[in-house]
Amino acid sequence: MKKSVIHFHPQGTLIALVGNPNCGKSALFNLLTGSSQKVANYAGVTVERKEGLLTASVPAARAIRVLDLPGAYSLNPRSPDEKVTTDVLYGRALGERQPDLVVVVVDATNLRRTLRLVLAVKRLGIPCVVALNMTDVAESRGIHVDVNALSQALAVPVVTTIGVKADGEAALRTFINAQTFDSATGNVTPANSPPNTSVNTAGDHQTIQLILHQLGLDKLVPHTTSDQIDRVVLHPLWGSMLLLAILFLMFQAVFSWAAVPMEAIKFATGWLAEVVTNNMADHWVRSLIVDGIVAGLGGVIVFLPQILILFFFILVLEESGYLPRAAFLLDRLMGSVGLSGRSFIPLLSSFACAIPGIMAARTIANPRDRIVTIMIAPLMTCSARLPVYALLIGAFIAEREVAGIFSFQGLVLFTLYLAGIFGAMAVAWCLKTFTRSGRLPRPLMMELPNYHWPTVRGIAIGLWQRALIFIKRVGGIILLLTILLWFLASVPGPPDGATGAAIEYSLAGTIGRVLAVIFAPIGFNWQICIALVPGMAAREVAVASLGTVYALSAAGSDTAAALSPLIANQWSLATALSLLAWFVFAPQCLSTLATVKRETGGWKMPLLMAGYLFALAYLASFVTYRVAIYFSQ
């Protein structure tokens, strides 16, 4: 059944920001709306919709909504993101009316390209104003724009802004406040004659050449610093080595820099468990707190430092403008498996978490490439797998130095990441070889923006948001599942005269023994099988679950003690390696599957994904287990 859509337009004036990608539009949006931003999705599509209220509007009672539209090169959309921009401007987006005023943000250092969008918007017949942004950068490079002359030439008001400076939006704010909007109707009357929207790129180009000539701006002023950096970064040999070095440093840092804060968190959880144990009577509540909550959550929160270090690297690379360069260097490699360099950015985000990665795949214009990227994104080692890898590597791989500088544990971790990447490449290659659409030529056309120093503020906000999301997960779903698992593992209690640990008689023990039949060929014992079930909700829960399972198995001893020496004694190396292989491939995350359903608009893709990942994981674990047993004999 098709849902009917109710067109609900909130009262008040609507202002939309449009601009080319990388023109500093979002920074300007942040200045205009401050903390009043709401991030949601557009109706019917999954493009992120950013809206805010104009802060300090005059008169104060006037509510002005500001919409930050996805960046676009033209009104001829080339991706789902750009289509939203076009639809909103044409007044045909679901649940969104045509804006009362369009602010076209243009990059003062690149008027040649950005002014074309102004002409296109002007033709729509909606009131518009040009925000000449990045004027500080332009001035520093000797580009002086005569604002009045530009305004006259375009026949559109022009104000100057600096998106990266506090108060940089003042002129635009003054302009908006001086406008009277006919918000009584809340709607712009659609023009009787359709606006003249025929795409005339060459004609617009000539108009702009003329304007730039009049303004004395037709000389090209290249960004020499970016060009100089690119000479190294894009060099076939040095650039590739640099990329490898950056990725390698990233994974080494995840292990070495995080050691101290992780020790501190471990110490704190141990101390907390001890305090509770000493101050409470032996009661089921104490068991719930110590064995369930502290052992479970402590086992997950300990990985926060590593996740933050990983995100730190990704954020810095993203803000500096390096990521598209990396995508360029990897384009040929990705092309060999039927993808483009564009898929690199969603896939790199998937190393932090597959969900933002799958959502970032929306920037891929080609529908086929987008689906393939989504399908292989969960094979990238997300940060939720890190706790599992870290636990197993810490327990089974002896730490030593390799070649004097590398940590052997770091090398093993790097190998696991590579296994995920090669798995993904293999899947993409199969899809390229066995589908017709995989062999059609597809364009790349990816902009390499100028380099920026990442701002401390930008990185800090990004890290803070990531930390918050992680802690919310720990406090929410992980806490809930940990308690549920503790319940399953404690009920029913052991019968009188029982000899084994309590958990063997519980519901969880029963479930584990049933599952163990399926997983015995790949070397999983029943404790692992129990942990895998709640691990479906969030991978890192598997560690918390093992913590709870073993805490309850170890009858009466120091329960919150580290899990790692415990499993090192009880599991064979083959089992540990098999579990590692399992986690490289297994579809162990319900939120990822839910995101895939939402992004692809149906159950087909998520079911396909779960099926193929499960098969791949079982196969990989089986081979790993058998080979490991063969060599250990």
């Binding site: 090169y73 033209s74 001829n76 080339r78 250092t109 690149n110 040649r112 390209r113 074309r116 795409v199 790129t201 060459a202 180009h205 000539q206 050449q209 003329l210 000539h213 090209l220 002023v221 290249p222 960004h223 970016s226 060009d227 690119d230 000479r231 894009l234 060099h235 076939p236 040999l237 650039g239 590739s240 598209p324 995508a327 360029f328 260097l329 384009d331 040929r332 092309g335 360099g341 030529p441 364009p443 790349l444 056309m445 990816m446 902009e447 390499l448 923006p449």
Partner: protein, 99 residues
Amino acid sequence: MRTKLIYNTAMENNVKTRLLSEVTLNTLHRVVEVIAPPSSPEWTSLLQEIGFLPGEQVAVSAVGMFGGDPLVVKIGVSSFAIRLAEARCITVTPIIHQA
């Protein structure tokens, strides 16, 4: 029109034109025309919208390690990564510097 002139001069005086896929690294050229292959006609407007328009200055500033694909092309003051197949759609003519 200035751009029109450049376009015409290049075509009529039979000044040497070549495809962007064939030019040497870091030499300045001017775009003459953009013609997409019949199999993907939409490439013309896609390339024009990111700046590949007659008269624009263009130079190849880097090429990929394997087979020179993809390329980084400076168009105006922007840089774009495009593939050889897209570069073959773009006809250019060298800019001769006056002393």
